[in-house]
């Protein structure tokens, strides 16, 4: 089942559920414009995955796991709405649909960058609350005063080798590209997990010179951009 579909279902349940936290199958079907039979099938599957509690004829409710996912989506959705309205000045009637589509594709890093850029908003343009992020910080002020890469969540931050500063080191996480190019880089010692340091860059997006396993290698910008690193900053 595609991630996007699951997220849409979870959102629908979240929006519909009243005080008792339950949503009826027919309501969900109406909202998502799907046939009740197929909705039931999806709900059963989601129940098996532990995202919702599904009791026939009683309606469904979110589990803790489902709720976690939906709050993160809502957070992204509402941050995006703020962004689309305040920064891009799109008409209000368009922003909801756009945000609905974008919310599924942006990653946590973008989400955090949005949050900081927008000045840590707490409400979306419709006045609904924006759920807090799950970064391990004490307050929003502390978040904005620190670099994103310094926070716990960012242990796995992955950047292109071209984003390193001269003199900086990193470990290769993965390399994208054609079979030949990847093979050649491997043969020259750029295998996954290898420590690499950036020595210098030529001007105007020219090639970079790196040091790997005690050897110096020059790599063109186009190829280098597809070599992804972990800088080890925690």
């Amino acid at each position: 089942m595609p991630k996007e579909q699951i997220e849409e279902y979870l959102e629908a349940i979240y929006d519909i559920a009243g005080k008792d936290g339950k949503a009826k199958t027919t309501e969900i079907a109406q909202r998502l414009k799907n046939a009740p039979a197929s909705v039931t099938e999806v709900l059963q599957r989601m129940s098996r995955n532990g995202l919702i509690n599904y009791e026939p004829y009683q309606g469904v409710s979110l589990t803790k796991k489902g709720e976690n996912i939906v709050t993160r989506i809502k957070r992204k959705h509402r941050l995006l709405e703020v962004f689309l309205e305040k920064f891009l000045h799109l008409p209000k009637e368009h922003i909801h649909d756009q945000a609905c589509k974008m919310e599924h594709v942006i990653d946590d890093e973008t989400e955090q960058a949005l949050c900081k850029t927008l000045g840590m908003p707490t409400e979306c343009p419709d006045g609904l609350p924006i759920p807090p992020c799950n970064v391990n910080v004490e307050s929003c002020d502390k978040c904005s005063s620190e670099k994103i890469s310094d926070k716990q969540q960012r242990k796995q931050k992955i950047i292109s080798i071209t984003s390193l500063k001269p003199g900086q080191k990193g470990k290769i996480v993965f390399i994208r590209g054609g079979r030949n190019v990847v093979q050649r880089l491997c043969d020259l010692g750029l295998t996954n997990g290898t420590e690499v340091s950036l020595l210098r860059e030529a001007p105007l997006k020219g090639p970079i010179e790196i040091c790997v396993r005690g050897c110096k290698i020059v790599i063109g910008r186009g190829v280098a951009e597809k070599i992804f690193m972990q800088t080890g900053e925690t």
Binding site: G189, L204, E209, R213, C215, K216, G222
Partner: protein
């Protein structure tokens, strides 16, 4: 060549000193230089050692047995199918980990081998010590430390190699063990391959099949197509487990093994201060100073050669003209104006322009500056659909276009190679430099000569852009090893220049003298004016040149520098100003610069690209030169 008793192949990464060892052993003049990809063809030489005739093969540098560019394919094919008796794996002591990655592959192939650890003197300076004995134990092959430039350790290599050929082939060499998920599959494939009569080592073939090496797949397909299917399934399974291609997984494990071995046998004290080479890098690879340095260097080379060549021409002219008997009549004229002027003019061309040029190019090559230019110029090269590596053959083309054409093999795709070859035939080689500097530089002014160069560079750039548009495909980026600076050894530089200069002395000078005699004879018998008349619609009407230049253009196809010498013959004096105006000199040099690669370059193009391309390029350049020459004549005539 006599039938050798033993054949030894030198193999290893680029730039570790294979060609130096080859030259030391055979006494031959294989061109050497400090840049990756300079050896593009295998070279052979013979050596007699304790009464045994030994054939030595020098192979192009190679990083892995999975091949990437054309010159690497030559090496791999020879190692895999040429069946040398012994492979001498030359490795760089200062970069053991990467070098042993290749050694491990040779061991997998079970070729009889000797490991030559070269550059141990430089490694020592860097604080690296290596336990050769232990390394030999680990691999189960003889290990010899060498300093190739000084000849240290080279005879031991040969001794060990002879020793190996005497032994019965035993499996003394160790194996690398991969992770169990790979090892299990290798064993299954190995077992199945055993049922076929394959001539390659089984384990190596099995590994290559898992790596999905296209050539091995095609080869095995003919014998046992079922095994291919199985290997493909296995390979996909490993890919699934590791989330990266199987060949990358295997490369990773090989590197891990190489790294473990290095940790066992090498100690490295990190030097505190950056080395002189690294300090030089700071300047020569700098964002701004790197370019300033490059252009200053090129300008000063041209300036120096122009001044030196002009001075020497005058000195030799004055020296020889003292002895001019000034006789009249057919035979005395033929002897003096033809043969003698031809002789001293070509001598001044050789000693004044070509030899210094070769020396300077040799110093540049040997120092390791060429790869730095590749780095600096990578971005501009992209505009021409090439990448920085193309700069290395293009710089070599300043010396001579012929090796440059072959040098283009370091580029990965046919398209890149074709573009680079076409552009390198437009680079003003030493012969064209003779005409530009010896004519325009000497008689009008160095600034006009430099203007011609600048125009040529712009032309090269524009044609590059055009070719990039016309030819389908895009260039993949540069991936190149950056060798450190090394102090050029005078011995090597002189030997190098001599290797390149000798054919000039032996073939070009006699040819030019002959040409000079012919021209003089034709001038005296008025045949020259007949040929010139035929070409005069182009030379006189369109290009505004004197009629006699027609013959020079034809003879220039053989040797471009001959055009200048023969001009002297026609003038009967080195004072060419008496027969040509400054404008005519510029147009003449311009057309010579562009019009056609010399016959040797055409031959090189035929070898690299085939008849069709070579002819098309030749005619294109003739047309281009005539067009530009005529247009330039019309534009410039209002200034002169």
């Amino acid at each position: 060549m006599q039938k050798p008793d033993i054949t030894i192949a030198l193999a290893g990464n680029a730039n570790v000193g294979k060609s130096v060892i080859f030259n030391q052993l055979t006494g031959l003049g294989q061109i050497i230089g400090n840049w990756p990809g300079k050896t593009v063809e295998k070279a052979e030489g013979l050596l007699t050692h304790h009464g045994k005739k030994i054939k030595i093969i020098d192979l192009p540098g190679i990083y892995s047995l999975s091949t990437y560019s054309q010159e690497e394919l030559i090496s791999r094919e020879y190692i895999a199918q040429g069946h040398p008796d012994v492979v001498v794996n030359v490795v760089d002591a200062t970069a053991l980990e990467r070098n042993l990655f290749f050694t491990l592959q040779l061991i997998e192939m079970q070729v009889p081998m000797v490991l030559a650890i070269n550059l141990v003197d430089i490694a020592k300076k860097k604080g690296i010590t290596i336990n050769y004995f232990r390394l030999s134990k680990i691999f189960g092959v003889p290990v010899v430390p060498t300093i190739a430039t000084k000849g240290v350790g080279l005879h031991e290599i040969i001794d060990h190699a002879i020793e190996i050929t005497k032994k019965e082939k035993k499996e003394t060499q160790s194996k690398i063990r991969y992770g169990s998920e790979i090892e299990k599959r290798i064993e299954i494939l190995e077992y199945e391959l055993k049922q076929t009569d394959l001539k390659y080592p089984l384990r190596w073939t099995a590994i290559k099949l898992l790596e999905e090496d296209l050539e091995i797949i095609n080869f095995v397909k003919q014998i046992a197509p079922k095994i291919i299917e199985k290997a493909h399934r296995f390979s996909k399974k490993i890919e699934e487990l590791h989330k990266e291609p199987c060949s990358a997984v295997i490369a990773s494990e090989r590197y891990a093994t190489a790294s473990r071995i290095v940790a066992k046998i090498q100690t490295h004290k990190q030097p505190q201060k950056p080395s002189l080479g690294e300090k030089l890098d700071e300047v020569t690879m700098h964002k701004i100073w790197g370019y300033v340095f490059l252009f200053t260097l090129l300008l000063s080379i041209l300036g120096f050669i122009s001044l030196f060549g002009g001075w020497l021409t005058e000195v030799l002219h004055n020296l020889f003209e003292q002895f001019n008997p000034n006789l009249t009549g057919f035979w005395p004229n033929l002897a003096w104006n033809g043969a003698m002027v031809g002789f001293y003019a070509s001598l001044s061309v050789a000693l004044g322009f070509i030899l210094p040029f070769y020396l300077i190019i040799g110093i540049l090559e040997d120092s390791g500056y060429l790869p730095k230019v590749a780095y600096l110029m990578d971005r501009p090269c992209h505009a021409m659909g090439l990448h920085g590596k193309a700069c290395m053959p293009l710089l070599v083309a300043f010396g001579c276009n012929v090796p440059a054409c072959a040098g283009c093999r370091i580029l990965e795709t046919n398209r890149d190679r074709l573009i680079a070859i076409i552009l390198s035939t437009l680079v003003p080689c030493s012969a064209r430099t003779v005409v530009i500097l010896g004519l325009v530089g000497a008689f009008i002014g160095i600034q006009y000569a430099i203007a011609l160069y600048v125009f040529d560079f712009i032309l090269i750039f524009l044609i590059g852009r055009l070719l990039n548009k016309i030819l389908p495909g895009t260039s993949i980026g540069i991936i190149m090893e950056m060798p450190p600076y090394r102090t050029p050894t005078l011995n090597v530089v002189f030997k190098q220049a001599w290797v390149r200069f000798k054919p000039f002395l032996l073939t070009a000078i006699p040819l030019i003298i002959l040409g000079s005699v012919i021209v003089e004879a034709m001038r005296l018998t008025n045949v020259l004016s007949i040929i010139s008349d035929i070409l005069s619609p182009i030379t006189v009407t369109w290009l505004g040149l004197p009629a006699f230049t027609g013959f020079l253009f034809i003879f220039g196809v053989l040797r471009k520098e001959a055009a200048l010498v023969l001009l002297t013959t026609i003038a009967g004096t080195a004072e060419i100003t008496s027969i040509m105006t400054p404008l005519q000199m510029i147009i003449f040099a311009l057309v010579i610069m562009i019009y056609i690669p010399c016959i040797a370059t055409i031959a090189a193009m035929v070898r690299e690209t085939g008849w069709k391309h070579a002819l098309a390029i030749t005619f294109f350049e003739i047309g281009l030169a005539i067009l530009i020459g005529g247009v330039a004549f019309r534009i410039l005539s209002s200034f002169f």
